[in-house]
Subunit: 116 residues, 2 copies
Amino acid sequence: MKLLHHPDRKDLQLASVLYALSDPIRLYVVSEIRKHGEQACNSFKVPIAKSTMSHHARTLREAGVVYTRAQGTQRIMSLRTDDLNERFPGLLDSVLQAYDSSEQPELFTEQEEGLE
Amino acid sequence: MKLLHHPDRKDLQLASVLYALSDPIRLYVVSEIRKHGEQACNSFKVPIAKSTMSHHARTLREAGVVYTRAQGTQRIMSLRTDDLNERFPGLLDSVLQAYDSSEQPELFTEQEEGLE
DNA sequence: TCAATTGTTCGTAAGTAATCGAACTATTAA
DNA sequence: TTAATAGTTCGATTACTTACGAACAATTGA
C-alpha cells in the first residue's frame, strides 16, 4: 500500500492541531487512544460510516496528532505524544483533561442502549 | 446597541473553544490581548477587512474565549481567562505558550516592511 | 483461489466558514 | 447638525468540511 504521510515534528502547526482537535468525534478518538493505547480505526464505536472515520483519521494524521501504521488490513493509530509535548508543551494534557472532565465519555459508546 | 451575547462559563464547549483558536488571525488576536491587555478590534494590524475582523471577534466571543464590551464606538475585547481556566485548566496557557514560541509574532504586524 | 475484513478513494450533496464591499447603526467630535 | 470613527449586518462568492455509499485495494483465512 502507499505510504501514509506524517508531518515531521518541526512542521507541526498549532492551528492545524487545534483544528484537528476541534471535532467531537476526533476528540473522542484521541481520548480513547490516550486511555486505552493504540487502536485500529474500527475499534471506535461511533455512529459514522467507515469512509467518514477514514477521513477523520486522515485529518488527525495530517495534523500530526496521531501516527498511523499498517498491521494486516488494519490501521493502528497511536498518539504522537512526544512530538506534541515537545512542540506544544502541556497542550495535549490540558485538552484531554478538559475533555475527560467535561464531556460524557459514553457519548458514542453507549448511545445504542435502551433503543429496543 | 443590542446586547452582545456571551455564553455562561458552564456552557463553554471544548470543541468550540479549540475551533475558535484554530485560526491564525484569531490566535494572533488572542495572543495580542494576552500580551497587551484588553484591546479594541481596530488595534490589530491584520490584513483583513473590518467586516472580517468583526466576524472573527464574534467567533471568539461566541465560543467564550473573549468578553466584549462597548466603549464609545469601540468594542473592547478581553480574555475570559478565569472562565477558561476554571473549565479547561491549563489550556489557554499551553496554547498561548505554544503560539508565542512557535509562530512569528510579526506575522501580521510587520508584513508591510520592505514593500516600497 | 475465493471470501471476508479493513480501510482508502471517489463522486456527490449539504452545510459551514472566510472573505469582501456596501449599507447601516451608534457614538464622538467639530 | 454634520462629519468622522468603529463596528455590525447583509449579500455574494469561494472554498472547505462532513457525511454517505459505491467501488476499489490489500491482507488474511478458509
